[in-house]
């Protein structure tokens, strides 16, 4: 097997400030080239922080990062200066929820894409321009020649999202990081962008990490899904395994809360309570206070990472019990 494109081992991220927040607490996963991993989680689960670590976008002076992060064989946590700038937008690129914040309002779309190509590939202005036109065509922006000279505010929401994708993919990154890129879009536009990303990912052979809180969205784009809770991955598996046979009580709760197929008039199986504040690193199972099937020991011990099958991991003592014969 070839070396993975992304390899994260025991990643820990802690923010210091008025109070300390243990945002990511020992996350490990790998992503192969051309594969899509969906990271599913609610607000504060650490999914976006994990993603931002891969581009080193977190504020340096307030963030303490531990563990190992390698992308395409390069140690990301050791990158500095020009090497870091080469990594951002060259090897790995990111798209965000709000394209208005990702695009520069005072430059045209064409200039922004051309600039990235010139910076990363040493291309001429004309070559950069040609690549920009090619990219706008690939993301299916109507009349791309005209849109090259458009400013971000002159475009509709869906069109801006396409322009941001064009910018992110202009230098053919090996890894695309997507941070809830369709959350702010209308339903009929969201599905267009999801299909476009799925297609471009295949066409360019990129690895993609797609962060979302929406199970349906994760199902549409992912090969594998990792479910995060309180800064930890509580379950991973192929999208089929995870949707059809969720093993962690939190994953089960999330699937039920999606209301897909919920019977009207029946009571929803809501997960009680709220996620923990993360002011301290977890010493037990973080989900135990809300867990409907908690057993003794859940409140005091860290749950083991169980591997019930190939490519599958569940962080729950009950998954362990289920594996033992008798």
């Amino acid at each position: 097997m070839s070396a993975p494109l992304v390899e994260i081992e025991d990643l820990k991220v802690r923010f210091h400030g008025a109070r300390t927040v243990h945002a990511v607490n020992g996350v490990s996963f790998r992503l192969d080239a051309g594969e899509t991993l969906g990271i599913l989680g609610e607000s504060g689960s650490g999914k976006s922080v994990t993603l931002k670590t891969l581009l080193r976008l977190l504020p340096e002076n307030r963030t303490e990062i531990g563990g190992r992060v390698r992308v395409d064989g390069v140690d990301i946590l050791a990158l500095k200066g020009k090497a870091l700038a080469d990594h951002r937008g060259g090897t790995a690129s990111m798209i965000f929820q709000d394209p208005m914040l990702a695009l520069d309002p005072v430059y045209t779309i064409g200039d922004q894409i051309a600039e990235a190509v010139m910076r990363h590939e040493g291309a001429s202005a004309a070559e950069g321009r040609a690549r920009a036109l090619d990219m706008l065509t690939r993301v299916r922006i109507p009349s791309p020649e005209r849109r090259l000279n458009a400013y971000p505010h002159e475009m509709s929401g869906g069109m801006r999202q396409r322009a941001m994708i064009a910018l992110a993919l202009a230098c053919r990154p090996k890894l695309l990081l997507a941070d809830e890129p369709t959350t702010a879009l209308d339903a009929t536009v969201q599905i267009q962008i999801l299909l476009l990303l799925r297609e471009l990912q295949r066409e360019f052979g990129m690895g993609m990490i797609f962060v979302t809180h929406d199970i349906g969205v994760a199902t549409e784009v992912s090969d594998r899904i990792a479910v995060m809770y309180a800064g930890e991955i509580v379950e991973t598996g192929t999208v089929r395994d995870l949707i059809r046979d969720p093993r962690h009580p939190y994953t089960k709760g999330l699937l039920a809360a999606n209301l897909h197929g919920a019977v009207k008039g029946s009571r929803l199986q809501a997960i009680p309570g709220a996620p923990p504040a993360l002011e301290e690193p977890p010493r037990a199972c973080s989900f135990a206070p809300r867990c409907p099937v908690k057993v003794s020991g859940c409140d005091t011990q860290r749950p083991p990472a169980i591997t019930p099958g190939a490519g599958r991991m569940v962080r729950c003592v009950l998954a362990e019990a289920a594996l033992q014969p008798g």
């Binding site: 339903a187 536009v189 349906g216 549409e220 999208v239 009207k264 009571r267």
Partner: protein, 342 residues
Amino acid sequence: MNASAPIPRPPKPLLTVTGLTKHFALKGGLFGQSRGVVRAVDDISFEVGEGETLGIVGESGCGKSTTARLLVDLISPDSGDIQLGGKLVGSELPIRELRRQVQMVFQDSYASLNPRLTMEDAISFGPMVNGMARNAAVRLAHDLLARVGLEPRRFAGRYPHELSGGQRQRVNIARALAFSPKVVVLDEAVSALDKSVEAQVLNLLTDLKAELGLTYVFISHDLNVVRYMSDRVMVMYLGQVAEVGPVDAIYGAPAHPYSRALLAAMPSMDPDRRTMEAPLAGDPPNPINPPPGCRFHTRCRFADAVCSMSDPGLYTMGTPGHLAACHLHIPASGHKAAELAA
């Protein structure tokens, strides 16, 4: 749980909306001239039966939030009537009374609360302004907090920033109930909450409805949530009603091509049956200068010549109470497919 049996035809209408219209002038042209008109809500009519939940769905700019604001008189309509319990608002029923009996819960739980008022003060403020003695109002606030699942002793003295999003939304619901309203308009009230918390609040809304005999107007972009909560569903597009009907008819046999597209755009929950083709191309058009005729014809795959010329208007489909505004279904509308079917 008392499962709500399928409600046949809307019971006695509690809220009747007729020809409601709201246009916003766009300012900011040279010398402050108007640069055009946003036709946010354009001549819509519907009823909400007593004790039922009407779901409203549609994309941004379709007018669902403007409709909500018109219902509680946060903004005044340009034309059209609202009747509450058979009384015409403005003449037979004072607007002040409408504002008591129709309450609203908004999406942003934080912006909805005054940061300088404790939860107790936030809930008792309205009743006190309306003449309730302070003691009684505070007692009411405590009762309501308990009712929405927040222990008064712990939460009455807290400020909004000391609560989680789900807790704040419970307070907003409690405040909406302080006047014992007949109707509660929920405008994306659970959309900002995390999924696990959203389910808790939906359960609360279901309980309150049963206990207090409330009527809901439930606005959301989440079609799964609307299906779960609603008895009837209204689909809006560019300020007009595209389709309205019993929830099973809308989800099981949507008649309007836009309703079908909206449902087909929901992400699949089955990894083996992913969406292969986007049901619609492009963005929803701007409600400034909407297209003539059927407003959806510019994006509709069934559009025919007649669609750009005349507005179809709502037409009754097979199921009672199921109406759709589409030439496809209107015999002799001039639409080719309609002729073939006839």
